[in-house]
């Protein structure tokens, strides 16, 4: 009623302000990205192709984070576990020398049971650490990294009978630090590869990401999707309503870990070499940063957040070193500028989310007060 008395212009103004406030983080990144593009005067083909390429190889990993957020587990740093499963499968496929799509398919098939197992394990632990899921999943990632190193640095060639001089270190124990994935390199990316006036599109990889978006949106409408939301909103209420909370949470982590494993396989077929002991390390941090940049919060994340975030985060990662170099004239300043902007803005994103949440709480409080005053006035 109060709203309808406002003049139209002011209403539009307040609507615009509301939209800006709600999307402050992605808008900030968009502004920074655009400023960077203008400052660098970069070759538009390079910029567009690099952005498309990064969007194609990273979107699957970022999308794998959505379900745990819905189910109230926050940002799942544990997708590193899935990435390790994907890499283990790729190592096996490289060892057996299975080329092309069949190699890629086998890697996807092999990593699935492994990722489901790891996801179940992570889910069990996270159920025992309710309310502290994010830090627990992060530490779980460090722990599993130790197990991964143990397996591939010491057990391969001793307990695991593998004799492959091209992959093992010269003493016959432990994998070399780089594995050449030449046999499956670009097997998905270049299967259908459109080149339209200087722009390149890895069609199937982009379609895989799109298909996952569709599946996730469909899943949200099923009974399971509603269970995720119910558990995410209030575990106690969900429990009372007859939902098996622990089981639902484990399913969420299993799905997330498995998608991350597939995402890592897709990522690495694009890169073409596996950095045996480090490729998985950055996965959680960068995927989460991208999601946050897209305007997601620890409690709410959508497909749109994931896609917009991946695009903006990588756009900034591409332009910021060049922008730094152009503006300040020194190549290394470009690198420092990139680190400063990229990580600084992640911190700003988290800060802005906290601020927005506070504003919401304050507004709700003000509303309640007003309502209470009206009631008492009557």
């Amino acid at each position: 009623m109060a709203l309808s008395r406002q003049p139209a212009a002011r209403r539009i103004q307040s609507d615009v302000l509301g939209i800006v406030r709600q999307n402050a983080v992605p808008l900030l990144f968009l502004a920074l990205g655009l400023a960077g593009v203008l400052a660098t005067g970069m070759n538009p083909y390079f910029l567009a192709n690099e952005t498309i390429n990064r969007l194609a190889r990273n979107s699957f990993l970022v999308l794998s984070l959505l379900i745990p957020v819905t189910a109230g587990l926050g940002l799942n740093f544990g997708i590193v576990l899935g990435a390790m499963a994907g890499q283990a499968a790729l190592i096996a496929v490289t060892h057996w020398r299975i080329p092309g799509l069949s190699g890629l398919g086998l890697a996807l098939a092999l990593c699935t049971p492994l990722a489901v197992g790891l996801g179940w394990f992570a889910g069990m632990i996270l159920n025992r650490a309710k309310g502290r899921e994010m830090i627990t999943s992060m530490i779980l990632g460090f722990f599993m990294n130790g197990v991964y190193q143990l397996v591939f640095l010491f057990l391969v060639g001793t307990a695991i009978p593998m004799r492959n001089p091209a992959m093992l270190l010269t003493q016959g124990v432990g994998l070399r630090n780089t594995q050449d994935l030449e046999l499956i390199r670009w097997s998905l990316d270049r299967l259908v590869y459109w080149r339209v006036s200087g722009f390149s599109f890895p069609v199937l990889t982009l379609l895989a990401g799109a298909a996952l978006c569709a599946v996730l949106m469909f899943l949200a409408r099923t009974k399971l999707g509603q269970d995720f939301r119910a558990v995410g909103q209030d575990m106690h209420v969900a429990e009372v309503a007859g939902i098996n909370v622990d089981r639902t949470r484990i399913i969420a982590v299993i799905i997330s870990t498995t998608l991350a494993a597939w995402g890592q396989v897709i990522f690495l077929q694009n890169i073409g070499t596996l950095n045996t002991y480090n490729s998985h390390e950055q996965v959680g941090m960068f995927a989460i940063a991208a999601l946050l940049v897209g305007g997601a919060t620890v409690a709410r994340a959508t497909v749109a957040n994931a896609l917009v975030g991946t695009f903006l985060f990588h756009l900034l990662f591409i332009v910021s070193p060049f922008a730094g170099q152009r503006l300040l004239g020194q190549p290394q300043v470009g690198e420092y500028f990139r680190v400063f902007v990229a990580y600084g803005v992640i911190a700003v994103a988290l800060g802005l989310h906290a601020w927005q949440k506070r504003q919401q709480v304050l507004r709700a409080l003000a509303r309640d007060k007003l309502a209470a005053a009206e009631v008492s006035g009557d």
Partner: protein
């Protein structure tokens, strides 16, 4: 309404034509000797030597060298390394790319670049990726002859009076095939010489504690080890970040220091010994004989004459100078990447090799353009 449609169509057309036009223009620009060299090094936080060498080359060849850096956090940010290299190739004037050090992502970047520009020349100094991966991709790789150093370092340590040999490293480095081979050869050589070999695992500087964690460990551990094993112990480490605290502590405890992971008079020594004027426009910058003399004076003054040594030239800087020269010669058709003598000549003629004698260069395996380089040692006494 129709006007708007026509206007939009016209604008799109103009945009398309200008895009295609600008693309074409750059291709036509190609001509003899009008080319640039892309150069990628770390920032000063990873290895000051390489960055400064690149800076000097940019000054020496104005407008012909495009210098970029790879991320400080290169183990985690492969995608950035790839983007940086691919961005160099997006400039059609760049005909060759020199990378020192060849951090992870280099091989993937070469694949991506070659998909569009199969003629691009790649020269790598110090490849982190496995030889099996990098040999089929790069035109030239120059690397310190680590397997040979597995023999030369313990031998020199023994000659300098070491009864024990301490090797600091961590699993990530020990998964690099040449470093693992070097360690195995060190164990063998030590056994032959009757020197006790001790392996100590230090925290990985790329781990959660970062470079400070590793440095702190080195500062704390060397006095402990010297207390247990006595002063006649040679200390060696595989990571650049370890060098400065290591040299400091070896000097403080009276142990022996044969050479750095990446041997050079400027790596660790000036900072550890408090020698000024080595960087930027300083009085000693680029003057290797003067820097060696300054270190010698400090070592002798501390009563540690004959207990410290290094190579007489900063090898990574030499790789950058030789790499850029080779890149220019190859693009101009004056050099062949498969010619060992030409590679050796480029290394020997690098300005920083003045007064450092000749380099020994050999191939890692027959037919591979992966060249292993060793220089003689300079003992401070």
């Amino acid at each position: 309404m129709r006007m708007t449609k026509i206007l939009v169509c016209a604008l799109v057309l103009v945009l398309a034509v200008s895009l295609v036009g600008s693309g074409c223009k750059k291709v036509v620009q190609e001509g003899p000797l009008v080319f640039k060299i892309g150069l990628m090094t770390g920032t000063v936080s990873q290895g000051e030597d390489e960055y400064r060498a690149a800076e000097r080359l940019v000054e020496q060849y104005p407008g012909r060298i495009v210098h970029l850096t790879y991320p400080d956090n290169f183990m985690q940010e492969q995608e950035t390394t790839i983007t940086q290299i691919v961005s160099l190739a997006a400039d059609p004037d760049i005909k060759a790319i020199v990378i020192c050090q060849g951090v992870p992502g280099t091989a993937a970047a070469i694949d991506t670049v070659r998909a569009d520009r199969p003629d691009m020349i790649f020269i790598i100094g110090v490849a982190h990726e496995d030889p099996n991966t990098i040999i089929p991709r790069a035109d030239i790789v120059m690397e310190v002859d680590n397997p040979s150093r597995g023999k030369t370092i313990p031998e020199l340590a023994h000659a300098m009076g070491a009864k024990k040999f301490l090797h600091y490293s961590f699993p990530r480095h020990m998964s690099m095939v040449l470093l693992a081979q070097r360690r195995d050869l060190m164990i063998e050589t030590c056994a032959q010489l009757g020197v006790e070999f001790i392996f100590v695992t230090a925290p990985d500087p790329m781990g959660p504690d970062g470079i400070p964690g590793t440095q702190q460990f080195i500062v704390e551990d060397i006095p402990r080890q010297v207390a247990v094993h006595g002063k006649d112990i040679a200390i060696f480490g595989t990571n650049c970040g370890m060098m400065e605290p290591m040299i400091k502590q070896v000097l403080a405890t009276g142990a022996i220091f044969v050479e750095q992971c990446c041997p050079s008079p400027t790596h660790g020594y000036p900072a550890a010994m408090g020698i000024e004027g080595v960087k930027g426009d300083g009085a000693l910058a680029g003057n290797m004989p003067a820097i060696l003399e300054a270190i010698r004076t400090k070592v002798v003054a501390a009563g540690a004459g004959g207990r410290f040594a290094t190579w007489p030239a900063p090898i990574n800087m030499v790789f950058i100078q030789a790499g850029v020269q080779l890149a220019m010669d190859i693009v101009e058709g004056k050099a062949d990447p498969a010619n060992l003598d030409q590679v050796k000549a480029a290394i020997d003629n690098a300005p920083l090799m003045a007064g450092a004698g000749e380099a020994q260069v050999k191939r890692i395996q027959p037919g591979a353009n992966y060249y292993l380089v060793v220089l003689g040692s300079y003992i401070f006494k």
